[in-house]
Symmetry: C2
Subunit: 238 residues, 2 copies
């Protein structure tokens, strides 16, 4: 977008928003960096909806320009415990060298980034924000820096905007942070992590299982940060 | 997939199947090259359904292993005449140097290839077949060879299979063919183009308008090939 003299240039970014604490924090960091946010939540056939409800609360808390929820039924392809094929593993040691877990969803981030790219091009956003993390990333290939760089290259070639000289940055502000770093940073930004949901396999009332990879990573993160998880605290009060 | 001595190795590919003549021909060429096909049709909020009905007929004619239709409502983002934003242009001169037309759908092929990649990884397919064309391509950026190569590179980085050493080929057998070449090749392979639908803006009975870019390219292709278009012939008989 060309800038107008005397008018501060508005920079927009599409935020991939899951309802977990990572995408909330990533969005808050880039909002603090001056981006107006367009939040995109993709309902991809997860076996529970609790996460989507959390995404709505988080979008409101972030003050996004617009929030779109898009259905893409990845369960049609199968191949992941997260979309109904097999059990979500519980009580696994948190060790990335175990390889890629059964909660890996084939090509998920590529699909998510592609959809975000489409919206970014339509609204004139120059960036996509994604809350991926290369340290506590549970071994997913599509959370690695070289993957994100390859997507940026593709995005320039894929779009009309790219042909016209625009580039799309993939902003992954959490990429090299530990979960504890993320939680400390979000807490410093005043985020309410009580709005978020991280569990892969909540009970029928939407309460976290406390035993899947995601619950374990979250618990360790809050513990390492020396901060109380409001979700765990609420569960303990019941 | 490791090969077993004495057993012919089955090679699988996911075919992006639209119901038009290009994806039908591309699928038939790769089937003749020895691939078992998994057909993926994406309903992305086009303003008409005639094309999806054609995709079912074509999938049957190609003898695919499985056909999945997936809804992805790209109309939620707007930004294209193909998904309800603005009029489909009619009677435009067929001149690619006009730039990228309003029927361009932001990031469409990236979204389609990403979804095909997900299914390819699940079923163990080593290729994705897409009917794009760099000559008669109406000026879309995501039909260029450098774009397809960038996607192959991304696919290796994006997936568990890629991490484990597999690569995914993006097969675009029509890339350097004219529409007339495509029609001649498909006719030689015995394809029934009467099953296909190309029009961006059919009438309520599903009949082609004859005036959009896609209809014009199709008519010129059949004319240049010296072959009668069975769809146009049926329309003329009414």
């Amino acid at each position: 977008m060309p800038s107008v003299p005397g008018v501060p240039r508005v920079r927009c970014a599409v935020l991939l928003l899951s309802g977990g604490l990572d995408s909330y924090t990533a969005g808050a960091i880039e909002r603090a960096n001056g981006y107006d946010l367009f939040a995109l939540t993709i309902r991809y056939g997860q076996t529970h909806d609790r996460e989507v409800a959390a995404a709505r609360d988080v979008a409101r808390a972030l003050g996004v320009v617009k929030h779109i929820e898009l259905n893409v039924n990845l369960a049609a392809f199968g191949g992941s415990a997260l979309v109904g094929d097999g059990e979500v593993p519980k009580d696994r040691p948190l060790d990335v060298s175990d390889g890629i877990p059964s909660t890996y969803v084939p090509a998920r981030n590529t699909i998510f980034l592609s959809l975000a790219l489409a919206w970014a091009e339509v609204v004139g956003a120059e960036a996509i924000v994604i809350g991926v993390n290369a340290l506590d990333y549970s071994g997913y290939p599509d959370c690695r820096p070289e993957y994100l760089e390859a997507f940026e290259r593709l995005a320039r070639l894929a779009t009309r905007a790219g042909v016209e000289g625009q580039s799309f940055a993939v902003l992954a502000p959490l990429l090299r942070m530990t979960k504890a770093d993320i939680i400390r940073r979000g807490t410093a930004l005043g985020l309410d992590y009580g709005l978020t949901h991280s569990c892969y396999d909540p009970d029928p009332n939407g309460r976290p299982c406390g035993r899947c990879d995601s619950c374990q990573l979250r618990a360790r993160g809050f513990s390492d940060a020396g901060i109380v998880d409001p979700v765990a605290a609420a569960k303990a009060m019941e």
